[in-house]
């Protein structure tokens, strides 16, 4: 698509993303800003609060289907998950289970636990993970979208790994420990967090898609995310009963096949991708075409 005609997903606010991705007029916000349900912890750190505590939740329709939706605002404290923020997401997911929604959709944009809220934030993340698995156990697929400037890291990275499907853009990043954290704990020779190209090769949406962590790779475009979400809702994933076991086998295979690789480019080469050093420069359509299909592994 002509980049001029795109409306960037990563530059949009959480509320703009909700408006663009949901069926027009279908979103009904729960615990809206006017409720002023703000963080009780941030004042002590002299940090400003936000009226929605950095997450928008509610009922909506997407592609005609009733869903429970939460959208994190990555610009407010890096989308970090605090007590109120997590309570809103947990309540939304529990409600989606109760009303038998067609899916839970999370527009994820978060660096993880809000450090100022310490244990309350940590507990909040674990409660979200529990709610996600409750939804999946009830047969309600949980779909994560990642394309914001904060990506998903820490507890939010784990949350992204608990979704049935992950839709990422090439502007999205997925990881657990962020680049600076890895450098601090493992040393600059293991990972140089100032090497932007390295950071994007390792955590960026393209690599996560090629690894199979993300099921779909889309352009940084609100409409592309909307179409990918509609496609996913039309054919919702049916997780196999032995899914966890298969997941472990897949991780073991990854470790056996690629554990010795020093860089994402080496992994792409080992996957059988021709000219793997070109991947960072390719557009999304070309990266999709380059991903080896299952069973085609050399």
């Amino acid at each position: 698509m002509n980049p001029v005609l795109r409306r960037s997903y990563s530059e949009a606010t959480a509320r703009q993303r909700v408006a663009a991705l949901m069926d027009p007029g279908s979103f009904r916000e729960l615990v809206p800003p006017a409720d002023k349900c703000t963080s009780p912890h941030l004042d002590a750190f002299r940090v400003p609060v936000s009226l929605d505590d950095g997450v928008v939740i509610g009922d909506a329709r997407a592609a005609g289907r009733p869903i429970g939706l939460f959208a994190q605002e990555g610009r407010f404290l890096g989308g970090a998950i605090g007590e109120i923020h997590s309570a809103k997401i947990v309540g939304l997911i529990r409600r989606a289970i109760r009303v038998k929604a067609a899916a839970v959709v999370g527009l994820l944009d978060s660096g993880g636990v809000r450090l100022q809220e310490a244990n309350a934030g940590e507990i909040g993340v674990s409660e979200i993970l529990r709610a996600v698995f409750d939804a999946r156990a009830a047969g309600i697929p949980v779909i994560g979208l990642v394309g914001g400037a904060s990506g998903v890291f820490g507890g939010a990275g784990i949350l992204s790994g608990c979704c049935d499907v992950l839709i990422v853009s090439d502007h999205g990043r997925v990881g657990v420990s962020g680049p600076e954290v890895i450098e601090t704990t493992q040393g600059v020779e293991a990972f140089d967090s100032r090497d932007r190209a390295l950071v994007w090769r390792t955590t960026g949406g393209k690599h996560r898609y090629l690894l199979g962590v993300a099921g779909m790779l889309v352009d940084d475009d609100l409409d592309a995310f909307r179409r990918a979400l509609a496609e996913t809702l039309e054919q919702p994933p049916r997780p196999p009963v032995d899914g966890v076991e298969r997941g472990w086998q897949e991780l073991e295979r990854r470790w056996n096949d690629w554990g010795a690789c020093r860089d994402a480019v080496e992994i792409w080469r080992a996957m059988g991708i021709r000219e793997p050093e070109r991947i960072p420069d390719l557009d999304v359509a070309a990266v999709r075409a380059a991903r080896p299909r299952r069973g085609e592994r050399p």
Partner: protein, 106 residues
């Protein structure tokens, strides 16, 4: 971090308002959120401001007084969470909130 409160006389002939709360902006560095709501304040308008930048009370007073000149508001409560936005950005967000507060008709 500073908490400030400002009150203004409301307009005698206010613009028609949609009545639903209107939000503009995001609490991010150099930015702010503004929520406008209808509230019975005896005709007056009030702004509750929480700002990360201390010592700018006089600037807030001036920016909000300008805003009140541009729009005819009455019985409106404004709630502002500010992360050190410049006065121009504050004015912009106030106008955006006022625009959606007025509703699509006007």
């Amino acid at each position: 971090m500073e908490t400030l409160q400002f009150e203004f006389e409301g307009a005698a002939d206010p613009d028609p308002a949609a009545g639903c709360p209107a939000l503009a902006g995001v609490v991010a560095s150099g930015n702010l959120e503004v929520l406008l709501e209808s509230r019975d304040l005896g005709g007056r308008c009030r702004f509750d401001v929480r700002t990360a930048a201390d010592g700018f009370g006089a600037v807030w007073q001036a920016v909000l007084a300008d805003f009140m000149q541009r729009h005819r508001l009455r019985n409106v409560l404004g709630t502002i969470n500010d992360y050190a936005a410049s006065p121009a950005v504050v004015s912009l967000r106030l106008d955006q909130a006022a625009e959606s507060f007025a509703g699509p008709e006007s």
